[in-house]
């Protein structure tokens, strides 16, 4: 490759600075001793201590993690089934509607998904008395619904790029179709399923709007708690929380990158 033009290089530098300076500043200000989050008052780690003593944050974080693990797991199972159906079963009744239903949750504005699911839960409660209470269960269902779409797309594109001959050979040798799925297909798409699970997990931890609609009184997820706090302005303990998340995610992603690069 030849030298990049000066224009392209400066746009790249500007673009990455734009993406990362705000995050770096949050990290820096999280070590700020001052009560006023934007004025520097000396180095301190007191906000991290306060974070660990804040039961509301810990409860919210625990609820969010439980929802994220559960919804990512269900979404991976259902999404893998959907991806398999789309990639391997060329023709079945209602395929067009099915593939439309798979991709729509990804592009639907969150306010619409949230509102419509809440109205469904309220209607169901009137009809059959379930769900009696909104919280963990309803948020998990909502997150599963939009996350399974992402899993399905990832699994589907992995299957499309894979050659079917291994599966066909196993089938020709008399393997039961379901056995072929478990012994051949699933191990081959396991990396795609893991990627899908991680994406579903992150999307669930990230969601504020949909959870705000479908949760009930008393069940606050971590983003709901953060939002109620930052509505009032910049706050130092949220800086500390953000720093923990930024550092944790960056280290994780960089490690994953290094591992895959080593393997290649």
């Amino acid at each position: 490759m030849k030298e990049q033009s000066r224009f392209i290089t400066s746009v790249l530098a500007f673009g990455y600075a734009f993406l990362y300076i705000p995050l770096v500043l949050v990290v820096v200000y999280s070590f700020n001793d001052s009560q006023i989050a934007t004025v520097w008052g000396g180095f301190s780690t007191r906000w991290y201590g306060e974070l660990l003593r804040n039961d509301q944050i810990l409860d919210a974080a625990f609820l969010s993690l439980r929802i994220a693990v559960t919804s990512a797991t269900i979404a991976t199972i259902l999404g893998t089934m959907a991806g398999l159906a789309l990639a391997r079963f060329r023709r079945f009744k209602g395929r067009t509607l099915f593939s439309g239903l798979i991709t729509s949750p990804m592009v639907m504005p969150e306010v619409i998904t949230g509102l419509s699911l809440l109205l469904l839960f309220v209607a169901l409660q009137q009809l059959i008395g379930w769900p009696g209470q909104r919280g963990f269960g309803t948020i998990t269902i909502a997150h599963t619904t939009f996350a399974m779409a992402y899993v399905a797309i990832i699994v589907q594109s992995r299957l499309m790029s894979m050659d079917e001959s291994l599966e066909e050979a196993a089938m020709d040798l008399g393997g039961h179709p379901l056995r072929v799925v478990f012994d051949i297909t699933l191990p081959l798409i396991a990396p795609a399923m893991l990627a899908g699970w991680l994406l579903a997990f992150t999307l669930s931890l990230d969601d504020l709007v949909i959870a705000s609609f479908v949760s009930g009184p008393g069940s606050n997820t971590l983003p709901m708690y953060i939002f109620s706090k930052v509505k009032l302005g910049v706050s130092p303990d949220i800086n500390a929380l953000a720093t923990l998340i930024i550092v944790f995610v960056s280290v994780g992603v960089l490690l994953a990158w290094l591992v895959t690069r080593r393997r290649n």
């Binding site: 490759m1 705000p22 504005p109 599963t144 399974m148 992603v253």
Partner: protein
């Protein structure tokens, strides 16, 4: 048998938790608000839609949302195109790292990334402190709670959605074509418009739709960074529902928002289907 089960489980889930809810929204958008639980009547009329069309405020808010989302899309394209081009043209080792740095913010909470700008744009935030220290201004400039802040938030949050599909198109492009055009006497601008741009167009379309569609219904960014007068439709829907408890009107707002998005969403799905086909 087993084949049917594999299709049926996700199918039924989506029918129940994705399609049925829309039917309910449609039904409730035709009802009247009442006191009680649930706070809507069983009657059906077009009153809510008539109200939305007669009240100028709602029409203006829809227009404003479309306008804000469109401007944010153009800004993302203006910043994202040269970045995607630069990434696609860099050495393969650097290219992977640069791509990783575009994707990394995806994994960090969206809410916290918007929040990061609050500290930057406050009256006594980093930008104003810097400007005053440099002597460019002696009083803090109002950045927060303006349309400017909303644009910054939108571009910041959605820029990766623009860069990734652009990169995918540009990376596949054969750069020899551009050089051939230049060897044959085309100017750089001419080579760009006649060769690079048409080849990048699938990525441009996908990127623009991926920014425009979610930006139009955005709630968090206008709420945290925008002023009280910078209304966007996602926020109006949220407030109708939670603050005014007018479920039928909120549903009608959602129905019209969905109608606005039918064309862009259909375009995006057609594009994605074509991408899937060409990948095999």
């Amino acid at each position: 048998m087993w084949k049917k089960a594999i299709i049926a489980a996700p199918y039924l889930w989506l029918l129940l938790f994705f399609l049925t809810p829309f039917a309910i929204v449609l039904k409730i958008s035709l009802a009247d608000p009442v006191f009680g639980l649930p706070p809507y009547s069983q009657s059906a009329s077009l009153d809510n839609f008539a109200f939305l069309f007669s009240d100028k405020l709602y029409a203006l808010t829809y227009l404003r949302s479309v306008f804000m989302a469109a401007c944010a899309t153009i800004l993302c394209l203006a910043v994202g195109f040269p970045m995607a081009y630069g990434i696609a043209r860099s050495k393969s080792g650097t290219r992977n790292l640069l791509l990783l740095l575009i994707i990394l913010p995806f994994w960090i909470s969206f809410l916290l990334r918007v929040y990061a700008w609050m500290g930057l744009m406050n009256s006594y935030g980093t930008i104003n402190t810097l400007l005053m220290w440099l002597g460019i201004t002696d009083q803090p400039i109002q950045l927060m709670y303006t349309d400017f802040a909303v644009f910054v938030g939108l571009v910041y949050s959605y820029l990766p959605f623009m860069i990734l599909p652009l990169y995918a198109s540009l990376e596949r492009m054969d750069h020899d074509l551009v050089e051939a055009a230049q060897d044959l006497g085309a100017s750089r601008a001419r080579a760009f418009w006649d060769v690079t741009w048409p080849l990048a167009r699938p990525g441009v379309i996908a990127g623009c739709l991926l920014v425009f569609i979610p930006a139009i219904g955005e709630y968090v960014i206008p709420y945290l960074l925008g002023g009280p007068e910078s209304l966007m439709i996602g926020r109006v829907l949220f407030d109708e529902f939670f603050a005014n408890r007018d479920w039928p009107l909120a549903s009608a707002v959602a129905v019209i928002l969905l109608l606005l998005l039918v064309v862009p969403i259909a375009l995006l799905q057609r594009y994605q289907a074509r991408e899937q086909e060409s990948a095999t």
